[in-house]
Amino acid sequence: MSIFAGIGQTSLEVLQALLPLVIILLLTPRFVELPEGFMQKTIKGLLLTFVGLTLLLHGINVGFNPASQLIGEILGGRDNRWIAIPIGALVGFVVAIAEPGLRVQGAQVEEASSGAIKQNVLVYTVSIAVGLAVGIGMARIVFGIPFTYIAFPGYILLIILLRFTEPTFSAIAFDSGAVVTGPMVVTIILSLAVGVATTTPGRNPIVDGFGMTAFVALAPIMAVMLLGQIYKNKD
């Protein structure tokens, strides 16, 4: 199988996906006055985006997705399939700590807390939280716990925490949930989970395999809000 197989189809999909945005952006100058040369830059950016998206999705289709799913299937097919739990946790931690957006978020938190919460404290707290979340997500698949049994208490705790957290902090917290669920989580961690759910006896990959990114998004929100509590007590 050639490593370029299917790239034509992918580029067609990307073209379709970009079309609405292209139309809106080309109409923009009719409503908004733009500086000289602005449109050329936008068009250049769109071309780069098109090529980049095609290569990115192709790489995910031929490499990341099938390999991650196979790893999951192999782990889920073993007698000691619990090993998927620590492996998932490790992958989650590494994905989060490597995420450049998280460092940006850390700097913002340091600023919002007037230096009381250091950037690295946030980066490590969130990364550990993401690791735990993926571990819990894997445990859910291995032991067959329904998604809502974990997600609902999580969301209820979140609403309670929201009452006690300063507005600036809760806003940052929700955005950090968005920061860590980047392309690596969707391609590697989600495929891993679907793989484990495929070969673990008695699991349905649709019901048990999905839901992982939701946990990954929830973990940093709680972590940042808890950090906000600690900061408030220090104050």
């Binding site: 490593i3 996906a17 945005l21 139309i23 952006l25 923009t28 733009l34 602005f38 936008t42 950016g45 071309l47 780069l48 985006t49 980049g52 990115l56 999705l57 790489g59 995910i60 289709n61 031929v62 490499g63 990341f64 997705n65 099938p66 390999a67 196979l70 192999i74 782990l75 992958v91 590494v94 490597a98 450049p100 998604f147 809502t148 969301y155 600036t168 809760s170 806003a171 940052i172 917290a173 929700f174 955005d175 949930g177 968005a178 920061v179 669920t181 980047g182 392309p183 969707v186 391609t187 989600l190 349905n204 649709i206 019901v207 048990d208 999905f210 839901g211 990114t213 998004a217 929100i221």
Partner: protein, 230 residues
Amino acid sequence: MKEVKDTMKEVLTAVAPVTALALLIQLTIAKTPPAVIGQFVAGAIFVLVGLFLFLLGVNIGLLPIGRTIGAELPSKGSIYFFFIVSLLLGVAVTIADPDVMVLANQVAAVSEAAIGRSLLILTVAVGMGFFVAVAMLRIVLGVPIQYLFAGGYALLMLLSLFAPADFIPISFDSGAVATGPLIVPFVMSLGLGTASVLQGRSPLQDGFGLMGLAALGPVLAVMLLGVIYS
């Protein structure tokens, strides 16, 4: 040039460690066949180059225009115009976001096309667009964000009592992936642009939370789809 170097560094730090770890797992614990490992390495190179070009394109071409539109929107016409343009932009960037496409591909593959690719992408996009518009409107009207968060999550739990079981995890995943690498910076720049021109709004406080709020949209939309489906 600095943009190019920074983007390259960003992509390398985000992709390389996870790729190395996944490779290590394949070589030791999971023992995948050499052909799969080869595909994985080739795929990783595509991902590296692709993500680099993609982010570069977003940074030089798409974010500046997002910020300009965000800053111009509040002064152009009525609140309806503002709402509709925010909605359309939200829909358009969601359809173009790679995270959403990857999830839709996976769902279509695992469900054996029972939940179609285009249908899921469109549902996520409409939910996203609507909530982006609501979140932008919040900035203009100055509604406290905690109320919207608490209300949104409560509505979400309520709705999940009626949605079919196989839609619930996917709907929550849809919310999480809807914060992908195109949507986040674009919507943020839109929101920060708007917050920066309004009097009495701080870009820091009012621009933040935009993503968290917007991510509720796809979850609700996909659950509604499930309710209709069943």
